[in-house]
């Protein structure tokens, strides 16, 4: 098994080599850096696809720290983060989870959509997030102190309406919060151009369509098209998919299944071309 992975880098040794493309919206880069230097955990708020993960990649490059990302899902337990005993050849072997590895290596740990995870994860997050900066590992009877370079970042979409997915005050008040929104039109067009390689006119039209769908939030759509969707549509166009059909597949169908709504978005897309 060891031979098989010898070429691959361990996750805590992996550094992002090239500067990831990121357009700052405000002073978030400076705030994040200050939080990191002061060993404060950070909470990223914002709708899906507006650049939270890209921001983290950028910060990981900028601070020259490895980053471990965990996408939280509704069955993610504390032991998925901390680690567990696995059975190997009739014996049990302890294997560190991603959070433990991040703490030991002093890297950035990014828990995406933290509210999706099971409630028992707060047990390990809380002591890591206050001035103790400790990761308790129950099953080993150990406590791992976090080095100064370690930083925990979680993301959270406040638009969710489920009371079970609300973030408790006791958790959220441990974080420095940064709010992310959709960028202003010009900036967004620049992001779309850069990411998908389309030209200015095409990007402007995509952003125009994006705004139209965002107008429909709470008027039939749960969420408007994210920058990511616009970039996806742009990429399809670059690979010679006609503009309208690229928008339809990458934006309209991705947003909704409702036939009336699809018809409406189809007309909106057609109005731009």
């Amino acid at each position: 098994m060891n031979a098989a992975v010898s070429d691959a880098l361990k996750i805590e040794e992996y550094r992002i080599q090239d500067e990831p493309y990121y357009e700052p919206l405000g002073d978030e880069v400076a705030v994040f850096e200050a939080a990191w230097r002061n060993q404060l955990p950070v909470l990223l708020k914002g709708p899906t696809g507006c650049g939270k993960t890209r921001f983290m990649e950028y910060m990981s490059w900028r601070l020259d720290r490895p980053m471990i990302t965990v996408s939280c899902h509704d069955d993610l337990t504390a032991s998925d983060l901390v680690g567990r005993y696995l059975v190997k050849g009739g014996e049990t072997v302890w294997v560190d989870g991603p959070l433990t590895r991040a703490v030991r290596a002093g890297s950035l740990c990014y828990l995406d959509e933290i509210v999706e995870a099971r409630k028992d994860t707060t047990v390990v997050i809380h002591p890591l997030c206050d001035d103790r900066r400790l990761l308790p590992i129950d099953k080993l009877g150990e406590v791992v102190p976090a080095p100064p370079e370690f930083s925990l970042t979680v993301s959270y979409n406040p638009g969710y309406q489920s009371v079970l997915k609300d973030m408790k005050q006791s958790t959220r008040q441990r974080f420095v919060a940064l709010e992310f929104g959709y960028p202003p039109a010009e900036l967004e067009a620049r992001v779309v151009m850069k990411e998908s390689g389309v030209d200015q006119a095409v990007a402007d039209r995509l952003v125009q369509i994006g705004h139209m769908t965002r107008n429909l939030k709470d008027n039939g759509l749960d969420e408007g098209a994210s920058t990511r969707l616009l970039v996806n549509a742009g990429k399809l166009m670059r690979t010679s998919v006609p503009e309208a059909s690229a928008c339809h597949s990458a934006i309209a169908e991705a947003l909704t299944d409702d036939p009336d709504m699809l018809a409406a978005i189809r007309e909106l897309i057609a109005s731009v071309y």
Binding site: Q161, L164, H211, N215, L216, N219, M261, I265
Partner: protein
Amino acid sequence: MDPDSRWILKEMVNQTTERRLLFADSGGWQTQNRAQWQRVQALLLRHADGSAVLESIRSLDEAQQRFVVHWIDVVARSDSELARVFASRAARALTLMDSIGVEHWLIQAMDAYDKRGLGRGVAVLEELDSFAADYAERHRQVRLDQQLAVLQPIVIGLGGRSLTVTTDESASNGAYTDSESIFLPATQRHFTDQALNRQLLLAQAVFLWAQNYYGTWQQSPLEQLAVLPRPQESQAIYAMLERFRVEARLARDLPGLHRYLQELQQQGGETPLSPAWQQARARLDRDDALADDSIALVETLRGEALPEAAPYQGTIHPERVRQVLEKRLVRERQQLQKSLSELEQTVLGRPQGQPQADDKKNNPGQAPGDRFSVSETPARAEAGRQQPQLEYRGRKVGTPAQVQGLLTSIQQDLGEVPEDYLAGGGNDTPYDADAEEARDREYTSGEPLHYAEGALSYPEWDYNRQRYRQDYCILREQPLKPGDPAFIHETLQKYRGPLKSIRRSFEAVLGEDRLLRRQPDGDDIDIDALIEAQADRVRGEEMDDRVYSRHRRVDRDIAVMLMVDMSGSTRGWVNDAERESLVLLCEALETLGDRYAIYGFSGRTHTRCAIYPIKRFDENYSQTVRERISGIKPQTYTRMGVAIRHLGGLLGQVPARTKLLVTLSDGKPEDYGSYRGRYGIEDTRRALIEARRSGIHAFCITIDQAGGDYLPHMYGPANYAVIDQVSQLPLKVADIYRRLTT
């Protein structure tokens, strides 16, 4: 091949050739249906005009021939004469209608034949022309209500002020807008083709949207239009000029839409413009052309023949726009000022309870208008195209969606957001609590007071004083008279289909509760898996590491309190929708096993607040409860704060991990006397904050379209849902509940 079979083959070829001769050379498909063809041919040739009829059928294309022959054969099984009459008219029928129409026509004839004999059946067939005319009429029109689900989102998606797509009587004489709604004809039948009519309806909606968006109805041109001489002529010229200007804008911003309008325009055929109009149009084609320019051009075009109107152009009603606009200007100015001062207090951290007046006195140099500004106020030509950005003391601030909407709307009316609009509130009239109390007393005097036995007292938050009025509200639980049990039955019948899927989706939530076996990690050892793994190991095979079991439990430790608005304003279908919602939700909750209680609330003045228990937490969903649901009747007012305090208290006593307070409502909290507007909202907000402090999640489902203006303040940004159609309420409530708790 032996000689015999060669002979047979030759015969077959001959026969086929003969048949081909008879039915022309329309491919080989007749041979496949040889029996049918032979029957039809024999039938028709029995009559003198048979060959002429066959000739007419032969002139049709293949699919039509097949269609006609099939039906002749079918009809002939009932009556050969009827089939013959059909055959003789079939070709003509297909020129008048599509095949579906022909089928309708024939089936009507066969029905008549079945019921009233051959004579009647033939008569129907002979009335082909009138049937076809009727059919065309019925199938060309498009009904607005069937298109609304698509048109409304399009209009909202395009941006600017949210316009409602609807209809009224005058819209049948021409679609128009009053700057808040777009009125379209209830049925569109301008073209003979249904698809074109559907396109036309869409075109009318977006054209009227564009009028609003590109400033045809801004205050300035509207005022100038009102004072032009010969109003009728002026309005017609203005409407046409604005059409050209708006179309030029569309061509630039939304080329697809512009092309779409042009296609429709060409359906009517275009007549060339007179030189004067051409000149005017060229002037309005410019990027910086404004509605004011159209006004200026009106005089130059008097006496010129008006160009032909575009089919989607509709008509204009400047008077109605003016009425709506005047009200809106006042309303939005107040709303904006209120929102801004709230924004300043809550988000931007200006201390609460420091009234505007003091601020002005203490800092005369710092009028509120200096603090807020709108950045990048676009040039007037760009009005409505760019989203205004709010700044506070020169710094950009996050603009709440509601404020953003107000700014957009104001900019659409005035071309900019004037500075005095940004001067914070300050127009709250000083509040005289004693006078209000005196008024309350006056109202209640002479009636038996509520302080009697069984009454409970609750405090109320007075935002003016920034303190509670202790024991101010007197509340009583009152029994509800049972209603007609038939209502429950009818509701269950009516929603039989949706109810099934609601139950299924709720069961799916429950289905997640189970023991997961063969896990790599878990609470317990999965003995079966372990034995197998051990056996594998002993045999020298690789040992499976998934030997744990994990109990995956969806702990539905939820208690929910449903608070139903029983105020007078729910009278009628809102009340029906509320009751239906409760029935469906109860059915669903029974599947889920969540603990729940339902209470109605209403009341009149602080001394007679009433709570109507419909189902207590410890009651079963029994026949009595059902009858109480059907007995829910609109009462008086909505004093919401005290109801939340009382019901929140009840909910607080229930041991559950998640406690949810759901309000079904139709509007703002309001009661006789002082409890209205900001006072009511602030008290309700306070009561909800108290509830939240005791671990209760509050959520509001409302049918008040303006709910977005005040609910975020009361319930928090994501804790409410506005249902836009009352009829949707029963279906949505269960759905929202499921989303809330999964």
